[in-house]
Symmetry: C2
Subunit: 297 residues, 2 copies
């Protein structure tokens, strides 16, 4: 997603400076007309606005506060757009930490995946101070189809994202449970998909992920490991709040079961393989190996 955002900004004429730990990503971005650096500190010395698009809170910390982190060179009044899915508490405390250094933060988790990032059509669930938004507005508008303004406090963006992830994670797992049971009951999985997509049982995730199952293609668009993490954030936060979340907990166990079965790096629709391994149902097979699947093996 970081690559999609960076390319979009180059394409729209923003002077764009980037860092990625993978040399291959840096090289690809140079070819796309961007400039890259050896570490976040060198990069941030050239920037007024830094978008951090990494996987989790640890990586966010490392990019900003680690060795050669961006905060060491960011000027007073700069804006950090923190876009990983992180615990709301982490986002709130990071905002305070940056504030003490005179740097503004927007708590800005995103939705839309790599495909919409590449088109500049992300959804951003964003909270933070007015002056941060004023400064970052042209950049946010360039990379997003929709920026939800969720108040002045860092943490609120991450709360809304967390609730979205709770639903997304439960919906993928329930799509897998439903398709697996349907197959065992003798229904045609393609027919189930067609009928339910147009009925009250549908969800955004059912429509998006079940085609992967029908095609037998578990090339990760979003991996099982992401929901091991994201539902983990939901459950940790719920525990802190003394709040029961039995459906989230059941879904989390299914992602953990998939991870335990060695499927962490497969597409999250591979949760259906948990049911397959237990019960021996026959899942739709891939018609032919795709190039991208070959490359991975």
């Amino acid at each position: 997603m970081g690559m999609g955002v960076a390319r979009t900004l180059v394409a729209k004429g923003f002077p764009t400076h980037a860092f990625d730990i993978r040399a291959s990503a840096r090289n690809a971005f140079v070819k796309a007309g961007g400039t890259t650096y050896r570490n976040p500190a060198d990069m941030a010395s050239q920037c007024d606005i830094v978008i951090v698009l990494v996987v989790n809170a640890n990586q966010t910390n490392e990019v900003l506060l680690g060795k050669n982190g961006a905060l060491s060179t960011l000027r007073t009044g700069s804006v950090v757009v923190a876009s990983a899915t992180v615990p709301p508490e982490f986002a709130a405390s990071l905002g305070e930490q940056l504030d003490k250094q005179g740097v503004l933060m927007i708590d800005a988790p995103v939705s839309g995946g790599a495909a919409r990032a590449a088109k500049g059509e992300l959804s951003i669930m964003a909270s933070g101070e007015q002056k941060a938004f004023r400064k970052a507005k042209p950049v946010l508008d360039a990379i997003a189809a929709k920026v939800y303004r969720l108040g002045d406090t860092c943490g609120m963006g991450s709360k809304v994202k967390m609730i979205n992830q709770l639903l997304a994670g439960v919906h993928i797992a329930s799509a897998c449970e439903a398709m697996a049971l349907g197959i065992r009951a003798g229904a045609d999985p393609k027919v189930l998909y067609e009928v339910i997509s147009n009925s009250a049982g549908s969800s955004w995730m059912f429509q998006n992920r079940v085609p992967h199952i029908l095609e037998g293609d578990y090339t990760p668009l979003s991996a099982v490991s992401i929901f091991v993490k994201d539902l983990g954030i939901v459950l940790d936060t719920a525990k802190t709040l003394n709040f029961p979340a039995p459906l989230t907990a059941a879904a989390h166990q299914l992602y953990l079961s998939a991870a335990g079965a060695g499927l962490s790096g497969e597409d999250d629709s591979a949760v259906i393989k948990v049911y397959q391994q237990l019960t021996g149902i026959e899942l739709p097979k891939a018609r032919r190996k795709k190039k991208s699947a070959r490359k991975r093996t």
Copy 2:
């Protein structure tokens, strides 16, 4: 839903004969231009096609095979359209039973609720013999926006409906869990609804039921008790198939919790009150009592 279907048929010029155990429903249908009878047998003596729109398998049995049941007067070659949500095994065995009496059956559970029934816009998940469909086609086309033809065997329509209900039931319960946790975390429920409705966490049920929560209006459009029943069917069928369904089981416990708390007759979105009763979160209140709500008390 039966009333909506019957009125639609009258409006479209079909000679329509009806039975309901409630005198109030019979009287209303007479006013709408239909004819009513004292029992299913008297009614069925006038019919070539009988649509059974009741709550469950027991009621379906009673209408067809009970005292003064429809089967006692139905002529050879008539068609029964069985539209309750029932266990697939029940639908299959009912089809065989009717077949032995020379009566055709379409296993035809419906989706769409009372509102779409009244407009003649149901979705029908239908399986059964070709000659049953040939005979019933004008009637099915009159009452449905979409008739899915799911093969020649009674039971398949009910399997697809069962999988749809699995998802619908899990999605409503997860919408309640998500909204409840979001409220406890300090998010504005209206904002959660707006953002998530347009994000990857959305579902048909999230969009349809969360407004009831936001309006604090639990007048039953579909009651908690329906999903106590429908997820019960899923779990019974899964057990028969030796198939684990942990998410469905967790969701079923939430509907049972709501029923145990005295909420069986409320809208299924009242599952959020389980979380409310446990944790004391503040749910959106109704602005004013609606007429329909007053009538119920």
